[in-house]
């Protein structure tokens, strides 16, 4: 359903000339990414509380096709620089995603935490994983999206704005990616 909505309405998002409110223009975004900052769509990130500078970089990269994901490339292609700024500020103000109700399997949580410490995710993403500036909030992001993204950085199919995550992921195994994603999705 998310796909249908997107197909029908991405034109709307770009039609800034019209008098839609920001809420109306953002409706197609939220159809997939969640109305309240929390995504319920497979492999699709929650946007709430995202760092505005990071969101701006991603929207820019989608528009310029520096980051390739066709639906987002389509969505962003007609956006102006001001649109990109407006939407990234909007995203940053949505409520941040909440952790899942279950606390998670203690053994996996411990493994994930140890990995996060070992690789110093907190250096850039902050100790609470809320991110800063161009470094994204990852706390309570969807587990499937986290695992997918970490895998894409590792195999270099997703190029970051800079190369830092490719370097970071070099020595991390697929099993460790699963544990990291499990932990960060549930961290409290």
């Amino acid at each position: 359903m998310c796909k249908t909505i997107m197909a029908l309405t991405f034109a709307l998002i770009a039609s800034s000339a019209a008098a839609e409110t920001l809420q109306e223009r953002a409706a197609p975004c939220l159809a997939c990414h969640g109305e309240k900052g929390q995504s319920e769509t497979e492999n699709t990130p929650s946007l709430g509380g995202q760092q505005a500078p990071y969101a701006l970089i991603q929207l820019f990269m989608f528009r310029e096709k520096l980051r390739t994901f066709e639906p987002m490339n389509e969505m962003a292609k007609a956006l102006t620089d001001d649109d990109l700024r407006t939407f990234s500020d909007f995203i940053a103000q949505m409520p941040k995603p909440a952790p899942p109700a279950d606390a998670g399997d203690p053994a996996r949580m411990q493994r994930g935490q140890a990995l996060a410490q070992q690789h110093r995710c907190n250096s850039c993403h902050n100790p609470d994983f809320s991110g800063k500036e161009n470094v994204p909030r990852i706390a309570n992001q969807r587990e499937d999206y986290l695992a997918k993204t970490l895998g894409e950085y590792k195999d270099n199919s997703r190029h970051g704005y800079d190369g830092s995550m490719a370097d970071v992921m070099g020595p991390i195994s697929p099993a460790q990616i699963a544990d990291l994603a499990y932990y960060i999705a549930r961290v409290r």
Partner: protein, 425 residues
């Protein structure tokens, strides 16, 4: 010697370091929770290439990380030109804007200014035609095309791991052909993988390969400057012990090559300083990663080494200041004191609590080729310990004016001396 501020080096997180086993490993393990049972004991402490390698465990250090520029170029009316200060008698103006992440500069025979980028996929061309300047995209779909050089009608472009060229580029600026690869025997590391390139007086193309991390014991293919024929053949290593150079030029008086090199991070707030180096013979070793700034043996990798075994810098550029693009000034527009001085862009530090650099400086040399002085030339890129712009490269125009690129704002400025007049229109 440095009157001034200064700041560091490679911006982004792009990864700069490494240090694989060293201190940080120990520190880290100590900090690890006891839960390590399932933790990957075998994995190295930090990924090679992580800028966080070597970071000491304290709050002030934890606040420091490479600074990424805004993705969107600033609109011409939002550029910080009015904040930028130049010495009395000089003028600064916007030469062109709207080029996201504008980095290295090269000048075409017909006056086109080519501009590389690092975080986007484009090489731009600033065309000056009938008094009007416009920006064209000369090539796109490239991967970190930081380096540009021009010779006899041909534009050379260095991406992260390959060099390519476009012949007769200025005759085809409206529909340039795709670049043709001439050399790709290069590592693919992100850390210090982006390249500045230039063509020497020997008509060879000079291509650096940085160290793949902050402080790394690397293999024979890294930490060097290579040179090769303009068709990519005959590549050889010209200098070793080079951590990350993002700018070089040749002394017009004796043809010696000078290059800037960025010192390692996390050693301390005040050392090591970035280096200005001079190559007097092929094959010289400049110390990294064993010896920095000519007199500091690295605390991790320098055991058993002696700084005397390496070529000392011709001068020091300030701690973490990120001395990048540099050119000897040979024009006639600036006062005589500038003749054959080196103008150097210091991109500005990230690995320092109080930022340093973020300026353009003038370096004068002693008769023996070492640094005599370093003075500020353009300042004002730093405001309240934050960047409002970051200079990357400098380039002299035929009329003796100077261009300066700014990757924070995606712009190129022009510096002139004398009564202000409109740029070569």
């Amino acid at each position: 010697m440095m009157s001034y501020s200064s700041a560091p080096r490679s911006l982004l997180l792009a990864g700069a370091f490494f240090g694989a086993f060293t201190l940080s490993a120990a520190a880290q393990q100590a900090a690890s929770p006891p839960a390590a049972g399932a933790a990957p004991a075998a994995a190295p402490a930090l990924p090679p290439g992580s800028p966080m390698i070597g970071r000491p465990d304290n709050e002030a250090a934890a606040k420091l990380a490479p600074v990424a520029p805004p993705p969107l170029p600033a609109a011409p009316d939002k550029l910080p030109t009015a904040k930028l200060k130049v010495p009395a008698g000089f003028n600064i103006e916007v030469y062109a804007a709207g080029m996201a992440n504008a980095r290295s500069l090269a000048l075409g025979d017909k006056g086109t200014v080519f501009v590389g980028s690092r975080l986007v996929d484009k090489v731009y061309g600033i065309v000056n035609k009938d008094g009007k300047r416009s920006v064209k995209v000369v090539a796109s779909g490239l991967y970190r095309p930081n380096g540009v050089a021009f010779k006899d009608g041909t534009l050379y472009i260095a991406e992260l791991s390959k060099v390519s060229k476009i012949d007769k580029v200025e005759d085809n600026l409206d529909s340039p052909p795709k670049p043709t690869m001439i050399y790709d025997k290069l590592p693919k590391d992100e850390a210090h993988g982006w390249k500045f390139i230039a063509i020497g007086p020997d008509n060879k193309l000079y291509v650096p390969v940085g160290q793949p991390g902050n402080n790394v014991l690397h293999d024979e293919d890294h930490g060097q400057i290579r040179r090769m024929n303009l068709d990519g053949t005959g590549a050889e290593v010209y200098a070793r012990g080079v951590r990350n150079t993002v700018g070089f030029d040749w002394n017009p008086e004796n043809k010696q090559m000078y290059f800037t090199d960025n010192g390692r991070d996390w050693l301390s707030e005040s050392v090591p300083e970035d280096e200005l180096n001079r190559i007097t013979k092929a094959g010289e070793h400049f110390g990294a990663p064993f010896c920095y700034q000519g007199n500091i043996i690295d605390q991790d990798l320098g055991w058993g080494k002696n700084c005397k075994d390496y070529t000392a810098p011709a001068g020091l550029m300030g701690p973490h200041t990120a001395a990048l693009g540099m050119r000897f000034y040979t024009g006639n527009m600036f006062p005589k004191a500038y003749k054959n001085a080196i103008i150097i862009a210091r991109h500005g530090s990230w690995n320092k609590s109080h930022k340093e650099g973020g300026d353009v400086v003038v370096v004068k040399l002693n008769k023996d080729g070492t640094m005599k002085s370093m003075e500020p030339f353009i300042t004002g890129f730093l405001e309240d310990n934050k960047y409002v712009g970051r200079p990357v490269d400098v380039m002299q125009m035929k009329d003796g004016s100077l261009l300066v690129s700014d990757d924070w704002n995606g712009a190129v400025y022009r510096i002139t001396y004398g009564k202000p007049k409109v740029a070569a229109q």
